[in-house]
Subunit: 328 residues, 2 copies
DNA sequence: ATGAAAGCGCTAACAG
DNA sequence: CTGTTAGCGCTTTCAT
């Protein structure tokens, strides 16, 4: 409630001196600065960020747009963003687009004017349109490549390699792959890598089961199809689908990993609580969120070194859901 | 980028007419209003919310403070808040306090000035201090009772009753209870209800195992203690602990529900994916978030009917983790 | 029904 | 080093 005027009146200086003492301390006499700070403290003065932003163009807010906060993948990214933003002095708007491209554009434009920059996690919308919605605000994209916007990617190719190498090393020769929605960027990146792997390794056969929605229900379908295809292993493009498959296979009395090995992707927090625990590719999700804030900070500061893409490495976590096939 | 001036210039009216056409449509001639709206559309005009707030005192932002976004409990509440806030035209600041009372105060005061009101989900901090940090902004508390702040509670007593009635009906007579942290409000509310239940029902014995942190690791300890106490059922104050217990019991070769029944509380999304699936008390988490926004909206509007507490009912979901005890 | 002008709280020129 | 002035974009008197 206290304003710069109140503080100024209390100390007997002008408002600009107060403003300077607060934002450019070195430009003001040490004695007056101390008095101003003391008075501000006493009055419980808190600068009005909106007013400051109106004048200076700096809001100290950032915006984070995610498809679904209940998806543990995005919850982890959000946690990382929150962490780093807090220490960097940013407050963060979080907007959940409900996996809807149109909504995504809408929420982006609704927060764009109140922030210094935006982090778009796995955006579902068209690049042109969503970037237009940012109104030119500095933007960083996570987990998808945009033409003219810095992106933080993860090493999908490496993850696919590690997972399939693992299955091949165990002796699997017929592996089913459950792909993600065709519209998903990382989904299509991953299936491309899977095909590349299949071509490079003639001793294994990859059976493509089709596209599945990123929920456990997708895993139910995938599990049945994998069984019908007589594969000895099922590789799902994300953990939710893998977990659904685990459940479905158990209900059908098919032993994992005895009759079927299952591998996921993401290493969501629940992956080590399933039965059996899930072998999956770990992505440093929180770190991705933190790096997003860092990249955005640099981008806001006009550091063009931030404009390239950055790729985070991933690591296969071998747990109980994989073993050699039965006939070995 | 377009401002009211641009729109005004385009149409050939004054800025105040533009402002009125946008915010008080009935106070302006229908024809000019149409022209203004058309021009605004054409120029892609988006009002600057910060500037509007500076003048009118209304920001159309709300703040949501939660202890941990990676906890699926709070992720669900957040989803509900996001949903309702979006349709109500609010953008939402989300602040994760990392379960730290001091941090909680800090994040509250850092966003308080930029919002019309605040939703505090399961606040960990001292009531006086956190309310002071809101700077008098309308506030609604979820899942904890504050003296002078409207609260949205859930029917813990009813949930405890349903869970224990269920176990008693199955024939359990010696039931272990794993309580939450002593500092947790709903934790202490729940254990009080458990004790009340124990006193009211002389035919069952409740063994209090102690206080556990709300993570799966807490469930590991609780499981061992429940076994040592020779209980036939374990009731955990939340799902995470129950899931940890499930895992620990399975690893020890103790059959659930054959040798030990397990009941949780919250019905987190993962509860139906465990093995066996978890019997637990369902809390309408998303609805709680939505109601929080509604209550806040009324509170902001000065509707004093919003000042009382509201209690959401809960419902036991019986799944595979409970059965009659072995000796039945 | 519309316009002119003031001002929300703050910072950034511009003087001194 | 400090004060005065102007103005960010918008809403809101106060006139007309």
């Amino acid at each position: 409630m206290a304003t710069v005027r109140d503080v100024a009146a209390r100390v007997g200086v002008s408002v600009s001196t107060v403003s300077r003492a607060l934002t450019m301390p070195h430009m003001v006499n040490a004695a007056t600065r101390a008095k101003v700070l003391a008075a501000a403290e006493e009055l419980g003065y808190q600068p009005n960020i909106a007013a400051r932003g109106l004048r200076s163009g700096v809001t100290n807010n950032i915006g984070l747009v995610i498809p679904d906060i209940e998806n543990p993948y995005f919850a982890a990214v959000t946690k990382g963003v929150q962490d780093r933003a807090r220490t960097a002095g940013f407050a963060v708007f979080v907007a959940d687009s409900d996996e809807d491209p149109r909504l995504e554009e809408a929420v982006v434009s609704s927060i764009a004017k109140q922030v210094d920059g935006l982090i778009l996690a796995s955006p579902r919308a068209d690049e042109e349109r969503v970037i237009a919605a940012t109104g030119g605000k500095p933007t960083v994209v996570l987990n998808r490549r945009f033409e003219r916007t810095p992106s933080l990617l993860i090493d999908n190719a490496g993850g696919i390699d590690q997972a399939l190498d693992h299955l091949r090393a165990l002796g699997h020769r017929r592996i089913a792959y459950a792909a993600g929605p065709a519209a998903s960027w990382s989904g299509s990146e991953r299936i491309r890598e899977v095909r590349r792997y299949a071509e490079a390794h003639e001793d294994v056969e990859i059976v493509e089961l089709g596209n599945f929605r990123p929920y456990v229900t997708g895993g139910y379908q995938a599990a049945d199809l994998a069984v019908a295809a007589e594969a000895t292993a099922l590789f799902a493009y994300n953990d939710l689908v893998a977990i659904g498959a685990l459940e479905r296979l158990r209900n059908r009395g098919i032993d994992v990993p005895g009759d079927m090995s299952v591998v996921g992707f993401d290493n969501v927090s629940f992956a080590e609580l399933t039965y059996p625990t899930l072998t999956t590719v770990d992505i440093p999700l929180r770190a991705l969120g933190k790096r997003g804030v860092d990249a955005l900070t640099r981008h806001v500061a006009g550091d063009d070194a931030a404009s390239g893409d950055m790729i985070s490495s991933v690591e296969l976590r071998i747990r109980q859901s994989t073993a050699p096939p039965a006939d070995h």
